[in-house]
């Protein structure tokens, strides 16, 4: 599954990033090798989506190095950055389909913008991409007519249109019913293996993500607190990791917001 002898296609080292007063990342080291499915997990608000934006070059790290395919992303000119982005596909949390176009036109969009292919050829490619995600029959529907899971799959087809080497998934399982979730999980894993992709999945749906990932990183408090294969993480002794992975309501991350003892609160005079 994972090619241990290939170079890291995505390589983050010592990345520091702040948003306003919050220091989101305090020296992150992260790698994704060719052919791997890498998961990035952590509680909400830890900036996992921001990490994807750093990889895609939409944000610039304040310190450290973000390299994709050996190139430092923040050093690239606009044209080179755009050329790099054509090798990446991104699946946004909201799907980000163009609402004024049909599914067919959405998937055809990158082809029409970047290639000089004839309409007949484009049609073939689009139908094949939609077939890969199981939505060839929905090609004339508008995004407004699709369910959440379906629009994510169309987004995936669009992300695959130019045959990228890397796909970034931003919370692909959020808010999905079990069937859609199952479909997406299968798609992510199978497409990754069949097309030789490198996938980075950002999610806090632990079970689903760990089932398809080759390696996982867990981020909290701006740092990577755990990294390794899913088995290694489950076997870990860390109590924090135990709480996170097993969805325990109380543990190192407390259930109760800090407050004085309840007896004192009830005894106090009402104002």
């Amino acid at each position: 599954m994972s090619a241990t002898d290939s170079e890291a296609l995505i390589d983050l080292s010592g990345v520091v990033f702040s948003r306003g007063p919050n220091r989101l990342f305090n020296g992150i080291d992260l790698q994704a090798h060719r052919g791997e499915v890498v998961a990035i997990m952590g509680p909400s608000g830890t900036g996992k989506t921001t990490l994807l934006r750093l990889i895609g070059g939409q944000l610039r790290a304040h310190a450290g190095r973000v390299a994709v395919g050996g190139q430092a992303v923040d050093r690239l000119s606009r044209r080179d950055l755009y050329r790099l982005r054509r090798r990446m596909g991104v699946l946004f949390q909201s799907g980000a389909l163009f609402t004024d176009m049909t599914c067919f036109d959405n998937v055809a969009f990158p082809l029409r913008e970047h290639t000089g292919l004839s309409e007949a050829l484009i049609r073939t490619v689009v139908l094949m991409k939609l077939e890969a995600v199981g939505l060839r029959g929905a090609r004339d529907l508008y995004p407004g007519e699709l369910s959440g899971g379906m629009s994510r799959r169309v987004s995936l087809a669009r992300a695959l249109a130019l045959d990228p080497e890397i796909i970034l998934y931003d919370e692909p399982f959020a808010g999905q019913d079990p069937i859609s979730m199952g479909a997406l999980m299968q798609l992510i894993r199978q497409l990754n293996d069949a097309l030789g992709l490198t996938s980075v999945v950002v999610s806090h749906d632990v079970d689903e993500t760990l089932r398809i990932a080759d390696r996982a990183y867990v981020i909290s408090g701006g740092e990577i607190i755990a990294a390794g294969t899913p088995e290694a993480l489950r076997d870990s002794e860390s109590r924090w990791l135990d709480q996170f992975l097993n969805a325990l309501p109380d543990g190192p991350v407390p259930f109760h917001y800090p407050a004085p003892p309840i007896a004192d609160d009830l005894r106090a005079e009402a104002p």
């Binding site: 755009y82 982005r85 991104v90 949390q93 980000a96 609402t99 990158p110 913008e113 970047h114």
Partner: protein, 258 residues
């Protein structure tokens, strides 16, 4: 007291920052306008939604403004026995001032707010970010055609407004109020200069088109990507465009007609 001053200072800086962003934004969009010559289909589509769909309100307003001008002008001129000059009054008022200004204001309300809402919603639903990640510059692909459409449409709409205004005035003057058709047209033709009045009005409308288009697309692009942000941006477009058009009109009138 000091808190109020602090807020004033902060909001002044904020306004300056917004203005700077807007100018840089405009420069980036203009740089992408070369692409439009290769893909005119994009502009055609936007001219339809910005120009053609505004046509109805322009036609109706033009007619009514012309008719009201004729009525009001008649009541005043008839006291001096000068009602034969009604044609001149209406034509000059329309071509020099009312045509460009009223059309621009109506445009801001109908098309400008629609542009802002459309772009703001694309931002809020991450369509613009998605486009960027697909290595397509949204400023060239989405914004530039819409700005070009505004600049092209507004002069055309103004011309149509003027013609309909004069037609409405003719209807009321000659058919309703009994002004002599011959003097209506001949005095107008004698007094209205193509280069001074009509062309100047046209130049105004082109400049108004630039302003209205720029404000509309910038507010959409710059807004906060929430539903509240989009709605605020839409209102802002109408207000700011109206103020800029009226202020610019004053400056242009002073420069052009002296």
């Amino acid at each position: 007291m000091t808190a109020a001053l602090q807020r004033l200072g902060a909001s002044t800086l904020e306004t300056a920052a917004t203005l700077g962003r807007a100018v840089l934004f405009l420069l980036r969009v203009l740089r992408g306008s070369g692409e439009l010559l290769r893909r005119p289909g994009l502009v055609v589509r936007e001219v339809y939604s910005v120009g053609v769909l505004t046509l109805v309100i322009i036609i109706v307003s033009g007619l009514f403004v012309g008719m009201v001008l004729a009525l009001q002008g008649y009541y005043t001129l008839v006291d001096f026995g000068a009602e034969q000059s009604l044609g001149v009054l209406v034509a000059l008022s329309l071509t020099r001032e009312l045509g460009p200004v009223v059309t621009a204001l109506l445009f801001a309300g109908r098309a400008g707010s629609a542009l802002t809402a459309e772009i703001g919603l694309m931002k809020a639903t991450e369509q613009l970010a998605g486009m960027e990640m697909m290595a397509v510059d949204p400023e060239h692909r989405v914004i530039a055609p819409r700005l070009a459409a505004a600049i092209l449409s507004l002069p055309l709409l103004t011309l149509i407004f003027n013609v309909l205004g004069i037609a409405g005035a003719w209807l009321v003057s000659v058919n309703l109020l009994g002004v002599d058709a011959g003097s209506f047209w001949s005095q107008m033709q004698a007094q209205v200069s193509f280069s001074d009045d009509i062309l100047n009005g046209l130049i105004k409308s082109v400049l108004f088109g630039v302003m209205a288009g720029w404000v509309a697309v910038f507010n959409g692009y710059d807004c906060r990507p929430t539903s509240q942000g989009v709605s605020r941006a839409t209102t802002r477009t109408v207000v700011v465009t109206s103020l800029i058009v009226l202020g610019l009109d004053f400056v242009l009138t002073a420069l052009m007609f002296d």
